[in-house]
């Protein structure tokens, strides 16, 4: 028995000892090429790439658990030829690298790192410059994408890719990344149970963050700034959106968030500033909007049809050109206890709640909804006059679309 135990102990210890670290550098190390280093390592080995420029591409890692890391100044230049790394393996770590010049293709999705059917992976401190796709992660699970910087040089949506693209993935943490000048910053397609936080997504041509058919995800503390069209959350359920900042998404087809066919989501403590449209909601059900701030937007919220049971409470609507644009019936959506900077009512009993209800839809906003061309009268004196008279005695604006308990002071959280 004792013998058996010591034999097992021996086997375990040798198997740990066999985890080797090989070094790669331009001269004088174990290897000069990353691919040959990968080919001659076994599962569990570490590869350390020393400082220098490596002109390699399509580095294939197939069914080997490797920990690859670089030094500061380790640059892999794929010279516009295919992928950087192409990985299909479990327990894989890639760290501290700069990957440059990914090939642009109209038929293939070349990425700096392609992960396919990979589990327990970690991608950390990778800088991708001149990217087509940054990280393309497919059919993978349980991964971490942390502290990466990805930037592209694409000119149009067609010839640029997404910075972090997840397809059929589960349980991925995407944190502290900086993505810019790509098509989409972060794109989840059929991704679930993922957590996205503290990312900075800016100047992307299409969306800063994009969900498609992705359920039960959370994103918080992210900043989305000056993206072509803002953030899009579409055809997904149970998404939690907390503490994000959406700003400067300004243009004729831009918005802070586009919500399309979303059910059971929650928006809390988000800040929408300087967007053409803060939230564009189309076909959304059972969404709670709590304690968000809408400041200086063209439209704070634009509600299209087919929205049911949405609750807007304790939000701040500050100095928006239009607080709300609304199509169709009220449909059991509720506006309550919000602070509206345009509110001119009074509070005689000093309980912090205005004594007369507030109507967030201006007559002009209603008219524009009906006849879009009438927007050319924006800021005309006539419009101010009819808006005022409508405020005094409402005739056209939806009768029950009111905030019965408007707050007198801004909500703080």
């Amino acid at each position: 028995m004792k013998l058996l135990f010591s034999v097992i102990l021996f086997i375990i210890s040798t198997s740990f000892a066999s985890s080797q670290t090989t070094t790669v550098c331009n001269a004088g190390c174990d290897f000069t090429s990353i691919q040959t280093a990968v080919d001659s390592s076994k599962s569990g080995d570490r590869i350390f790439i020393k400082k220098g420029l490596y002109k390699e591409s399509n580095i294939i890692i197939y069914k080997k658990s490797l920990h690859i890391s670089g030094e500061e100044g380790t640059i892999i230049d794929t010279q516009n030829n295919g992928y950087g790394f192409s990985v299909e393996a479990t327990d894989i770590i890639i760290k501290n690298l700069i990957i440059k010049n990914i090939e642009v293709s109209y038929t293939k999705e070349y990425a700096a790192i392609l992960l396919f059917k990979s589990y327990d992976f970690e991608i950390e401190n990778i800088t991708v410059e001149n990217a087509f796709f940054g990280f393309l992660i497919q059919k993978s699970k349980d991964g971490i994408v942390h502290n990466n910087t990805i930037s592209g040089e694409g000119k149009a949506e067609a010839d640029s890719g997404n910075a972090i693209h997840l397809w059929h993935c589960e349980n991925i943490r995407i944190t502290n990344n900086d993505v810019r000048r790509m098509r989409d910053g972060i794109y989840l397609e059929f991704g679930s149970n993922s957590y996205i936080s503290d990312n900075y997504s800016t100047e992307n041509m299409r969306y800063g963050l994009h969900f498609m058919f992705s359920n039960e995800n959370t994103y918080e503390n992210n900043i989305f700034e000056a993206n072509g069209a803002g953030v899009a959350v579409m055809f997904s359920k149970k998404i939690k959106m907390y503490n994000n900042i959406f700003k400067k998404n300004w243009g004729t087809a831009s918005y802070g968030i586009l919500l399309k066919e979303i059910n059971d989501a929650e928006l809390k403590h988000n800040i929408f500033e300087d967007n053409t449209i803060g939230i564009n909601a189309d076909g959304t059900n059972r969404i709670t909007y709590t304690e968000n701030t809408f400041k200086n937007n063209g439209y704070a919220i634009k509600v299209h049809g087919a929205c049911y049971d949405n609750i807007y409470s304790k939000n701040n609507f500050l100095y928006n050109s239009f607080d709300l644009s609304y199509s169709g019936n009220l449909n059991s959506n509720k506006f309550e206890n919000n602070y509206w900077s345009n509110y001119t009512g009074y509070d005689l009993d000093k309980n912090g709640i205005g004594d007369i209800p507030y109507r967030p839809v201006k007559l002009f906003s209603y008219l524009v909804n009906r006849t879009p061309e009438s927007i050319v009268l924006l800021r005309s004196l006539f419009i101010d006059i009819i808006d005022f008279s409508e405020k005094v005695s409402p005739v056209f604006t939806p009768e029950n679309l009111i905030d019965n308990k408007p707050l007198m002071t801004e909500v703080t959280w």
């Binding site: 004729t252 927007i375 004196l381 006539f382 419009i383």
Partner: protein, 260 residues
Amino acid sequence: MLKILKYSFFDLMRSSWSYVYFAFYLLLGIVLLFLNNDLSKAVITLMNVIIVLVPLIGTIFGVMYYYNSKEFTELLLAQPLKRSSIFLGQYLGVAISLSMSLILGLGLPFIAYGLFKSNAIWDFSLLLIVGIFLTFIFSALAFNIALSNENKIKGFGYAILLWLFLAIIYDGLFLMSLILFEDYPLDKVSLIGTMLNPIDLSRTLILLKLDISALLGYTGAVFKQFFGTSFGLIVSFLALTLWVGLPVLRIIYKSKKKDF
């Protein structure tokens, strides 16, 4: 003509009204800039004021000046002077002195604030150009009204009505026709509708230069496509010039025939 222009101009420059007008703009500019601290926002607010006030003051001032200097005009008519030069001189005197008050009143605080270093300078110069056009248009219209009406009360009434029509009622009718014909494609119609009214045209010209134009959506895109090109800009300035030219021609025509 130049002599009469000079006389009218200095006469107005001496009157307290131009100083009040000048002081008003000066105050407005200072308050907007130093309380707001945001140049492009100040330009928007200023636009709202200019679009409404400049036409109003142009009209009232024009009518008032004509009626006030009527005796002097009759004296001038007894001299061997061309009639057109008498009235044109007076008109230009009024328009130029009003424009001066506008330019100086708004320009000084903006220059003090550091306009030349800011990229809002183009928006601001467009604002001033539009303001000057509006002054010239509305004082010309006012002179027309005054020339056609001996009765002062009637003249003032028509002048105010004219302002009311172009600043407010026109937009109301415009909006009503847009809603009435909402089943038809309206972007061309709305384009023409804006071109016909100098106040709407000025408002649109300025709005399209500002960030806020993104709010205009699809219609805005159509407008931008038109006004954004040099062709559109030339056409709209042509329209504004026409609005100055036609009333001026009528002043000349009318003054030749009128019995005093």
